[in-house]
Symmetry: C2
Subunit: 378 residues, 2 copies
């Protein structure tokens, strides 16, 4: 990291929680500052599904995530670069983080072929052949122009054995080095990713290798990929303290409201997950009383807001009865109102978490996970 | 019409165009005033597809249309009544007009059975049996609570012969009388509908019968139902002057930008059509240069707004390249941005028309209909 990086980027820990490893931070980027711990909504294809940039601002979103794999295939990173980069293309003036494409190239393709050079795959859209390599991932991410970009790696499958996991993490380290060499843009910060699968000692080994790269932030990758929740939490708790205390820590692809509370207390600062938007599109909505399924016939004439505790646009203006009607009638507005609410719920959830950290209060609440109602459709 | 109607409702003609029968008017309703000639976006299922009420306000929409047939079947008029009526249910505080259900009951069902009592049909959603009658249509429309409601009638098929058309218009007159008797809400205004199919003398006969009901506004129904454009225009031109000059005239289901110009010059004040929203969802967008198909690969890297002449949210903030990307990637935001633009285009189009009437300028422009580009998808 050269000095001009340091001029634009900064991570300041403003408060250390007295009850846990949780901390409050301010991450400064060229497109603004971010209060951490932060939840980042996922904007896969240059849009957080169903929401406009103003909707996202209204929800309190501070930073969103873009997917390198998807944007490379469609519309193509050169197109986005020609249009002025991802921020301008999608009209989002706040920070963006792009992933490296490593996760999707494996999860969306059956016919990948890994070599030291990179990953050969066929497009899930039209079957065309492509090679994603560390250099290619950097080329794409530099063209997209996100504030924070990620090293290209292999997220080791959760059922990989020790030998495979060892080989995989070493490959990821070699690729991360090539990423660092290929990355030459001062207005972007490159984060490294710790792999090591389900093996604590391999997590340590990966952390040691990746930390050698002297990057300005580190992520924990390869979790929440099919393993048990308890194992995910155990490995996150084991890995987080291996990462430098003064740099931002990012747990990729996590998680539920309770995951966010627990992992923040491990000292993790950044999270992303498709859960709020995907659930919203399926009618599963987060409220202060737990999840509700808006299809349920019991909401047919209910005049209450989705969540009487929520101040989002959806809750300020619409009844459960109306939201149920829109969803059952397959109306496009349902997707927007539901997504807006779920993202607002996650943002408010993080605000509550940050407030408790600030006030040194114990984080002794949780999201009611087990009250899912019986779905009664009529 | 009793005196309290007159207190809430008013139609004032504020200017008569010197070049045509077009006129400027102000229609006052309990939910606000409407400048005529007016184009009403269609909100079939208690939402103008893909748009929020704020989006519609932003587009300049003054009044929207709701569909009695759809809202009766889902979520049910009693549900909407219980939730405070259609305005509150959908969070739209401006005027609403509901149709009678007559059009959809025929166009969406194959197994309708007409008797003097009404129309028996099976729901297009679940096959359940229903009877829509003049009294039922009034019951539903009173429960919905729109500012302007319509008499229940049979829109005669465009290929009906003279004998059928004659019988049909007489049935519609009997039904209209029953509607007037069943309608007892001062805060709603009931408009009558002239039928008579493709026969000018039968249009005259229908107009005479319907005008006898002494209603506060009249529509021309049963046009734009499959006949030639020239025939539609000819029949509209023949029928419009049969309606009282001092009352609002509404041409149902019309039309294209050029139809709106031509029919306004016949002295018609109100229009509705699904075209702007339906086209938007198919990627067909209205611009000052003509229609464009946003799927076209020539827009792949085009940094221009959809319509550089347009001041709508979509055109202020997004490039053609981005709109193409969203549409091709099947993103929900495409539906919203496209619909918003097309509705804004229609509203701006009407503003231009009203301005020309006000200034007594000839309405000598037209929408370029024949420049549809070759669709080249890549």
């Amino acid at each position: 990291m050269n000095s001009s990086h340091r001029a634009v980027f900064k991570f300041e820990i403003t408060h250390q929680h007295s009850h846990s490893r949780a901390r409050l931070g301010v991450l400064t980027t060229p497109h603004g500052t971010i209060d951490t711990p932060v939840f980042m909504p996922v904007g896969t294809q240059a849009t957080v599904k169903a929401l406009s940039p103003e909707d996202l601002e209204d929800c309190g979103a501070q930073i969103i995530l873009g997917n390198t794999y998807h944007l490379y295939l469609r519309p193509g990173h050169e197109v986005i670069q020609k249009l002025g980069g991802l921020h301008r293309f999608m009209n989002w003036s706040h920070p963006i983080l792009t992933d490296s494409g490593g996760f999707q190239v494996f999860s969306l393709n059956n016919l990948t072929k890994i070599s030291d050079e990179g990953v050969a795959f066929q497009s899930h859209i039209d079957g065309s052949s492509h090679l994603l390599s560390p250099e290619k991932s950097m080329e794409i991410q530099m063209a997209l122009g996100a504030d924070i970009i990620m090293t290209f790696d292999e997220p080791t499958p959760h059922d990989a054995d020790r030998a495979y996991t060892q080989k995989s993490l070493e490959l990821s380290t070699r690729w991360a080095k090539r990423c660092r060499e290929a990355h030459r843009q001062d207005h972007q910060q490159l984060f490294g990713i710790v792999q090591g699968g389900m093996f604590k000692d391999l997590r340590e080994e990966s952390a040691k290798q990746i930390l050698d790269l002297d990057l300005p932030g580190y992520a924990i990758g390869g979790l929440s990929v099919g393993e048990e929740k308890s194992q995910m939490l155990d490995l996150a708790a084991h890995t987080a303290p291996l990462l430098p205390n003064d740099l931002p820590r990012y747990l990729m692809g996590v998680g539920t409201p309770n995951d966010l509370l627990q992992c923040a207390q491990m000292g993790i600062d950044m999270f992303d997950c498709v859960m709020p938007t995907r659930n919203a599109r399926n009618g599963s909505l987060f409220t202060s009383e737990g999840k509700i399924n808006i299809k349920n016939s019991k909401y047919k004439t209910e005049d209450l807001p989705l969540d009487p505790q929520c101040a989002c646009y959806t809750c300020r203006n619409y009844s459960r009865a109306y939201l149920r009607h829109l969803f059952v009638a397959d109306e496009i507005l349902a997707m927007r109102l539901n997504s807006l609410h779920n993202i607002a719920f996650f943002q408010t959830w993080m605000t509550g978490l940050r407030r408790a950290i600030q006030r040194d209060q114990p984080i002794d609440w949780s999201f009611p996970e087990n009250n899912e109602e019986t779905l009664n459709e009529d």
